[in-house]
Subunit: 419 residues, 2 copies
Amino acid sequence: MTFESDLIETLMAPPPPEALAMMRLSLFDWAACARAAVDEPVAQITRAMVLDEAGAPQAALFGGGRAPARAAALVNGATSHALDYDDTHFAHIGHPSVAVCPAAMAVGQSVGAQGAAILHAALIGAEASVRVGVWLGRGHYQIGFHQTATAGCFGATLAAARLLGCDAGQTAHALGLATTRASGLKVQFGTMGKPYNAGIAAANGVESALLARAGMTSRPDALSCDLGFGATHHGAAVTVPDGWLFPQVSHKFHSCCHGLHAMLEALGELRSTLHPDHVARVEIDTHSRWLTVCNQAAPQTGLGAKFSYRLTAALCLAGRSTAAVATFSDAACTDPALVALRDRVVVLGDDDLTETAARVRVVLQDGTVRTAFHDLAAPLDPGHRAAKLRAKAAALLGDALADKLWQAVQSDDFGQLIG
Amino acid sequence: MTFESDLIETLMAPPPPEALAMMRLSLFDWAACARAAVDEPVAQITRAMVLDEAGAPQAALFGGGRAPARAAALVNGATSHALDYDDTHFAHIGHPSVAVCPAAMAVGQSVGAQGAAILHAALIGAEASVRVGVWLGRGHYQIGFHQTATAGCFGATLAAARLLGCDAGQTAHALGLATTRASGLKVQFGTMGKPYNAGIAAANGVESALLARAGMTSRPDALSCDLGFGATHHGAAVTVPDGWLFPQVSHKFHSCCHGLHAMLEALGELRSTLHPDHVARVEIDTHSRWLTVCNQAAPQTGLGAKFSYRLTAALCLAGRSTAAVATFSDAACTDPALVALRDRVVVLGDDDLTETAARVRVVLQDGTVRTAFHDLAAPLDPGHRAAKLRAKAAALLGDALADKLWQAVQSDDFGQLIG
């Protein structure tokens, strides 16, 4: 029994309904993030390249036009990760949907698959990418590999192989081909190379599956064998827990660094009952690890604002939508009212908190103290999660388009997601 | 000064004429190897995939048809390495032409470049792949990476970037994108994944250059920086010698394991003056390293024959063309005359020889002893090399097509090489 054969067998089991339901939410969120990014440079550049290639219109591109499945997967992967606003799986360690959904959608469209089949394939791919990510381990990420792309490629491959109707042997060869195709480095962070990595993973998965289905051979154990992908890529061959791991996925509800999200959730609980003019002081407790990541005291750019507890807290208290990308603007950094609020925020390290938790204390001018606590690791009621994702999509795209995407995803009409 | 900026500066210097002349020979040999492989499964499968995508006819495919440059690079890379008969650079460690020439030819055709520009770009790419291969070092190869693909991707990128007219900044970003795109594992050896690796490198190079020219950004120092390609891929950052390294490239003149070539060259010097029926015994001295690689005593398949001193010596003495792929057949392994000759061959390890040398002693039935010695590392007169490459091409393709390719390559009419 190799890791690969065990993986494939695990994924053949009927998935639990809650896993499929979570995949449906992730597909919706993935499409909303991509739709909001179609004018980003990385989206325009990749789209222009494949439209210039003028291939068969097998699958739709975010931003318009159609292309062969391999090409569509590249464009849609890069586009959907351009805002860095898509889902995260902390065990994976990475963003499962941006690698897997583009592959499942492109191949699904190219073969005319039903929505239910696309959803099931996407879930299998997402679960596979999480399991491969866990198996590779933290060392793989720490040394410099971008798990979203590397582990993601194997998920994209299995999603594509399923929709192409690959048999067991072809599926094993597809995984083997993916070992020699998968790539992606973290040093791309801060450049267009980061979202490109998601497109690479998706396109490589489609290509590996297409070639294996056509008879190309590889080593079926090339992930786990001596000198294989794990061995060459600093994998630790970590034992993967039983059960479906994908449902532990996290969704971003704020368009900023994930380290700020627990604070924003806690502050959000208090906001509706506070007037910003009445706030004398805000104290934020967070794990000290985050103080080196996202604690810019006085950011001067929109990008800097995404890494600032103080300014982000001010935006929240002032009633700005932290779900909207445009909220994190250069102008916000110099807005006098926001700067005045920002200067009343104090950030404190507290290592009794986990890395996913934050505590806020708001002291009002009348001396009243309001407190709240949030832990991102706490379970989120599915209905509440859905409502938050719909609100996020509305902030990104407007109510009408967000509703249209929501209806499409509820009715398995996934073709509507892209355009 | 980073490794990358030093590399780019080195390649900007006018190349020495002997380097361009060697590249011309390699282009000829590359095309001959690819033309002979168009019916191999890996060639058919990759070609069918990109023809199904039906993209713009930017560049020609070996085996017929045209495709966008990225797709043509993939097909022509895999096709040209399918027979494993293309050039080798022992410092690289790999096969430079199968990664670089497909990229240079595909982009050259897509932009309508002159032959001289394609030749120069191919040389720059090949030199770059050798230099990156040396810089990565033997450990990169030993741990399991296929330098032909990994180092080759950077060569393909620089060849493509030059033909696309990338400026210095775009070229640096292209190299940066290539670091997150490059891949290829040795565990694919013995499967179609090995020639696929060459296609991957070529296609990745074209894509990286196309995207960088369109404005995609990356880290210009992503090869050599902390957590970069070298650090993540077990690179040793070996100091690369000055001067052009590509001209030390080796060409294969026999369609079998490179470990047999010195023996075949030595035996070839004697063959014309010997009748096989008069041979009583043949003794072969070779470095003992090869005894575990290519010393199958009584192979039963054509593939096994390619790894057999004894049968290959018998083929040579019997006057069969060891340049022709078809010579290494299952039937040859059971041919009574060849088996009788094979059984008169003795193979001996001699570690006083280098790994590139072999000595043969032929004892005739009248007691006469004939000896010969060959070292593959000895310089080969350019005219002699050209004559041997033309004979190889003729053995693969017939005289007429070999002559046509030779004329094409002499007149810079490289479009004729592919079809």
